[in-house]
């Protein structure tokens, strides 16, 4: 299990290959990558991601341990960036490995749902007009009810 909270960019392909190579006995590997999207009306200059250093690693580790146990994962990876990101840059990724596909998919979705609403990150959209904190969506909070 690897959890990285970092300012640096990461290479999705290299991370996916390293993760898959390190797993024994898995039949299914799922990755999710979140990418900075431009605004619907365009004009996004950057996404600034703030986090709570003392709490972030701890909160993600708790979520990751729950996922590992609940779905019997072979392995799991979480990378989450903070700082200033340009449109098109990868914000974060998770990877899960399990014997069968249902467990790998479900665990990845569970991790994403919890990272969205329970890991201490806050996003701010920077445009020429200034900065706007991204509001949490009711749908993201509601997504936790599945689990």
């Amino acid at each position: 299990m690897r959890i990285a909270v970092q300012a640096e960019s990461f290479d999705l392909g290299a991370e996916a290959n390293a993760f898959a190579a390190g797993v024994a006995g898995a039949g299914a590997v799922v990755t999710f990558t979140g990418v900075v999207r431009d605004l619907p009306e365009g004009g996004l200059q950057a996404m600034e991601i703030e986090h709570y250093p003392g709490m972030t690693q701890k909160a993600i580790t708790a979520i990751a341990e729950e996922a590992t146990q609940r779905w019997g994962l072979c392995d799991l990876l979480v990378i989450h960036r903070y700082g200033r990101l340009a449109p098109g840059e990868a914000i974060m990724m998770v990877a899960t490995a399990a014997a069968h596909r249902a467990a790998a998919f479900e665990a990845a979705e569970f991790l994403m749902d919890y990272l969205k609403s329970r890991a201490p990150f806050w996003k701010k959209e920077i445009t020429t007009a200034g900065g706007d904190w991204v509001a949490a969506k009711d749908a993201d909070e509601a997504a936790l009810d599945r689990w």
Partner: protein, 82 residues
């Protein structure tokens, strides 16, 4: 003395990312009332508690949670990770 941390727009409204606070507050809600009484910038940040979350010693908590033994309190809006 208690370390109080602020993140995102809570930090912006209060104007500092963290500060040491001397308080007799028994619960998080008491601490909030205490801060609001001090200066307008706190009143502005804490105007709507339903829009805020709190962590005690880096664990999510409720606003009626007791502060006994707590060293670090953090206030922030709902998280938007992922």
């Amino acid at each position: 003395m208690m370390q109080v941390l602020y993140f995102a727009w809570v930090r912006e409204r209060i104007g500092v990312p963290r500060e040491a606070v001397e308080t007799e507050a028994a619960t998080v809600a008491d601490l909030v009332a205490d801060l609001i009484a001090r200066e307008d910038r706190y009143a502005a940040a804490f105007a709507d508690l339903s829009a805020l979350r709190v962590a005690l010693d880096q664990e999510l908590a409720e606003f009626d949670a007791p502060l006994a033994g707590v060293r670090e309190v953090a206030f922030f809006p709902p998280m938007t990770g992922g």
